[in-house]
Structures are given as structure tokens and as C-alpha cells.
Amino acid sequence: MTLHLLIHYTLLIIVFLVLLSLLIAGGFLVAFFWAVGTGQYDDEVTPSIRILFDDPPIPSDDVEP
């Protein structure tokens, strides 16, 4: 009896952590859906190229009319 209680006592916290962990992971699953759904991964190459360019698409100094 005491043994059972003891185990119970010890394991509740594990169940607690398992659920908590699953919850976080689940949250990220939803994030994954968002990412795919909004076409974040439609192009799996160009973004990695784009980060290499830091210069603004127009020279920020020129102010010709």
C-alpha cells in the first residue's frame, strides 16, 4: 500500500512534466501548421540566398526627385 502511494507520489510529477512537455511541443506543432499554411516553405532555397544581401534595395543616400 505505502509502496503504491510512494510510486504514485513520485510519478505524478513525471506525468505532470510529460503533459507539460507535450503541451509545449503541441504548441510548436500548431506553429508548424501556421508556417506551412502561410507558404513559409513554398520556396526552400531563395531565402537562404536573400539573407546574404544587406544593402537596401535602393541606395538610401540618394534623394533625387
Partner: protein
Amino acid sequence: MTSNLSVPPTTELERFAYDNKIVQQFAYATAFWGLIAMSVGLLAALQMVFPVLNFTAETTFGRIRPLHTNAAIFAFVGNGIFMGVYYSLQRLLKTRMYSDVLSKIHFYGWQAIILAAAITLPLGLTTSKEYAELEWPIDIGIALIWIVFGINMFGTIMKRRERHLYVAIWFYIATWVTVTVLHLGNSMEIPVGMWKSYPVFAGVQDALIQWWYGHNAVAFFLTTPYLGLMYYFLPKAANRPVFSYRLSIIHFWALIFIYIWAGPHHLLYTSLPNWAQSLGVVFSIMLIAPSWGGMLNGLLTLRGAWDKVREDPVLKMMVVAVTAYGMATLEGPLLAIKSVNAITHYTDWTVAHVHVGTLGWNGMLTFGVLYFIIPRIFGTTLYSRRLANIHFWIATLGVVFYTVPLYWAGWTQSAMWKQFLPEGILQYGNFLETVDAILPMYALRAFGGAIYLSGVILMVYNLIRTTRQGTLIADEAAAAPPLAASPAGHKGEYWHRWIERRPVQLLIGSTIVVLIGGLLEIFPMVLVESNVPKIAAVTPYTPLELEGRDLYIREGCNNCHSQMIRPFRSETARYGQYSMSGEFIYDRPHLWGSKRTGPDLHRVGAKYLHSWHYRHMQDPRSTSPGSIMPPYAWLLEDKLDVSQLSTKISMLRLLGTPYPAGYEEYAIEDLRDQARDIADNLREAGVEDDALEEKEIVAIIAYLQRLGTDIKPKPQVQLKK
């Protein structure tokens, strides 16, 4: 048409400026705290060879060690993360940070927290939970600042001008979310005073939460953000896209879906149920795959550019960093395998493993990023590429000199611990023999640390000269087209899909709801369950023992002494009956420890005379020649502060420790009685001190004599005779 081709339009593009000021501040903080953290580390390393270096109470190893770890993780790496995030996030999203005010609050707030840590830890104000030693007021501060950071980051993501979230950003997000949960989860504590609190969980539960946090702190504070940095700064430095962007995306999601799990492996062979242990093992092993995916992706990015690497110190640093990451992430899972863990746990092996990660992975990458960022935000080039290269070699050597001796030390000591004579008795019954054997390695390790530190000094000089030859571009002008109100194919469509895919949404949704429900249901149970004493023999600590225990925590004894005897013959023969989870139900916090620089203390109760402990604390080497333990003379001088006793008692009762109602009123009397007994006993042994009853030493002796005695006949009884 051709004519106006050459005329750049001035309309339609939004002009803005990247905030480099905040990047610079975090960069400076990174370098500065790096120096501090490593210097403190060096001091601690030297103390293990020359105990005389434990000058005062504030500088004893037990208080210095947490200072070192906290400074390294939260001050050095922490600021490093923020530096990298603030630099890359703005550029990846083509926008300035969401709010300069929040940025400033974040910066100064974080430095304040570090400062608070640097003051409180030496003063012995600690929760004793590894990497979470800071007391509750600071914990709250951390939570607040972390949330400020979160608002600032997500705000920036909201107002971004680049639709695609680069993989690095995903790693940043993961970092923020998980660290938030971990911090809150592990900091559930009830204050009993301004600088003292008790965790709501006790014993095994506390241990489990602590290491769930402990590992994930490593996973999500030292790893994921740095992976993000790697995915941004490595391609930038090499000026070529990452080897496979698709792989990096898979890397992230694979990691994030299962990484949160690998916690319990820190408690193998402890009184944690096998079930949880196996869980930890498997999770940890699973992690090799994604981790190596990331490492290879990083290294392969440089394929065909090794000539570049030979030239560029930044790339060199990053290559070593990524390699170290690979090694650490391979070693980690191996250490999580029970049979391996049986050998390495509690030894210096663990320390070496951790430092491959921090010195190799975090350190080197941070240096690389610093060498990359500083010249850029100061609109100049690195002052001396040569010095940087020297730094690279010094640092690499430092890592080698640091880790190799410790691996050796860990192995040697572990082997000695387990060495039996044919007669079936321990060959090295005296723990000290196993310590003396590895002192040379400790010395070497200190040397390794010293050269690594010297490298950092070199870097700081180099960077200062660099800043001198340029001027900070506080606001770097940039321009980008605004993110158009999305046409079909984006958000709108997404929500549309979300509705239209109802079955999935329901499934996922309900799953999550059920999980939350489970949590809400189980959380109170956890607390309630813990109200019930489980082993009849196990009784709450007496007031004096309780105070003694808090002294044990203040002095950080748990940094060198474990309180967890594993079920091995070698350990039971050395320390006695192995520990059982039922014995810890009143331990708030648990004090299992993770490293045995000194012997395990779980069964030390009633092993020695009071007087032995008295002399030992006064001067360890008087009772144990060759011991490297610091002396705790002040325990003999200082009076025990009992002002918080009644609060402690009532708080603990609130948390479920079965002190009778109203006990807090007369607990002080019990304390005095027990103190008197011990004092008398000491006097008999020839200790001369009129106010002995009042001294801290008495309390700590009381606690030590109680340790692990619940399942033995009560020691007090014997002593009275």
C-alpha cells in the same frame, strides 16, 4: 523608357534604421562578463588545487562555483544571445527593433539581474538548484525582463518587412517560449524572507523538475539560440548560403518536436523510477540525429571554401564551434546511456563534457560573432587579423588543455571508486586517496582555463582597438518595401484553410485541450499527494536540523557533496544503504548534487562524533590530511540567526511538512534543547566556547548527524548516552 531606368525612384520604399547601439551594448556586456565569468572560473579551478585560495566566506568554492556557472551561462552566453539576436533579427526582418525603450529596459534590466546575482551568490543567498541558484526576487526580475525581451522580439516579427521567417528566427522563438516555461516551472517557490524561499516541490519531485529544467536550460539557452546564430552568422561570414536550407528547416522541426523531452537522464541510478530514467535515455539518444544534421549542415556550408576558412579567423572560430557542438551532442547521449553514466556520473567527466559545450560551442561561436559584428557596426575592419588568429589558436589549445585532463581525471577517479580488493573490500576506502590521485589533472585544467582566458583578454584588446579606429554607426540607414496587404496565398488563405481543415484542427485542438486539462487536474494532486508522509520512519527535520540544512545550502556544500547513494556495490560499500525516494519527502529543496569532489553525505549521519565535525569545519586538514575542502571557521564564530525560524516552520507546514499546528511558537525551544545537547557533547570533547549553543556550527552538526539516519536507529539516542 530607357531614360528613366537610371533614375532610382524615391517613393514606395520605407526608410528606416537598424539599431546598432543596442547591439554594441550587448556586445560590450558579452565581452566584459565573459572576462568576469572566466576569471571566477579560473579562481574556482585553482581553489581545487590550492585550498588556501578560499580567502573569506564570500570566496569559498561553494559560493564561487554557482557564481561562475551563472556568470558563464546567463551573463556571457546570455548577453551573447541578445547581441546576436538584436543584430540578426533586425536585418532578417528588414525592420528596426519593435521598441527602443524595451530594448533599453531589456539591456539594463538584464545587467541589473547579473549584478544582483554577482552580489547575492557570494553572500550565500542561494536556492542551491543548479543554474537556478538565484533567490525569488531575482527570479521575478528575470521573468519580467525575459517577457520584455519576448514582447520586443514578437513585436519586431509583427512589423517585419520580409514575409519569410528565416530558420534562425524560429530557433529564437523556440528559445523564448521554452525558457519561459522552464523558468516558471522551476521557480515555483514560497518565500520565507526577502532572500530565502522553499520550493513547492520536495525531494524526488523537486529533483525531477530541477533536472528537467537543468537539461533544458542547456538545450534551450545554450543550444537553440546559438543554432539560430550559427544559421545566420556562418553563411554571412562565408558569404554563401547554408548548405541545405531545407535540411535546416527539417533540423529545426525535428529538434523542436522532441527536444523538450531530454531531462531525466541527469538522474540515472538515482531513486528516480526506471521508467523516467529510460525515458530520458531514449530521448537523449534520439537527439543525435537532429543535432548532427545541424552540425553537418553548418560544416558543409563551407565546402569548397576552406581556403577562405584558412584566412578568416571568424570562420575558423565558427568551424571549431560547430565541431565542438557535434562532439558535445554525440557525447551527451552517450553519457545518458546507463552503463556509461554509471561510470561518468558525479565525476569530472561531466564537467569536461559541459565545458566542451560552453568553451567550444558557445565560447568560440560568440568570439566569431563578436569579431564579425564589431567591425561592421563601427564601419571599419578588424584592428588585427593576426591577433584574432592567435586568439583562435590559444582558445583551441585552451579547450584541449581544459577538457582532456578532466576526462582523464573523471575516468581515473571513477575507476578508483569502484576498485575492490580480492578480499571484497574497497581498495581505496579513503575517499581522499581518489582526490589526491587527480590533483595534477586539476592543475592542468586550471592551466587550460588560464590560457583560454588569456585569449579572451587578447580579443578584448583587439576589439577595443577596432572600435577606436572606427565610429559607431548607431543608426544604420536602410530601406525596404513594406509588406503588402497580403493577396491570396498568404494569411487570409491560411485562416481559410484552418477553418476548412476542421477535422485536423479539432484533433490537434482537442489533444492540446486534453493536455491542459490533464495539467490542471494533476497539478493540485501533486501538491496534495506530497502532503502524505510515505515512510513511517521518515520524520520532518527538527528546527535545529532545519537551520543547519539552510546553512548547508548557504555554504553551497551540495556543489561538492552529493546526497544520493546509487545502488552499486561500490557505493553501498563506501557510503552504506543506497538512497530511497521516500527518504527525501521533506527535502525542500533536494540536495542530491551532481558532482562528488568530496564524498557522498547521505549516510554521514552518526558516522562521526560531533567533535570530529567541529574540528573538520574548523580546519578540514586537521582531521583529513590532504583534503582540499575549504575551512569554515566562521561557522564556529557566527551566531545562528533564528529570526526566520517560525516563518520557515509555518511555511513548510503550509507546503505539507507535518509540523503540529502552532509548532512555530515553541519550535525555538526545541532548537535550544537540541543545541544544548550537542554543545554539551562538544564540551565533553574539549571544545571551549561559552556561547557554543548559539553558534552556527551546532546547527550544521545537528543536520549532518541527522542525514540518512531515518531508516537507522535514531542517532540522537546513542549520543545522549
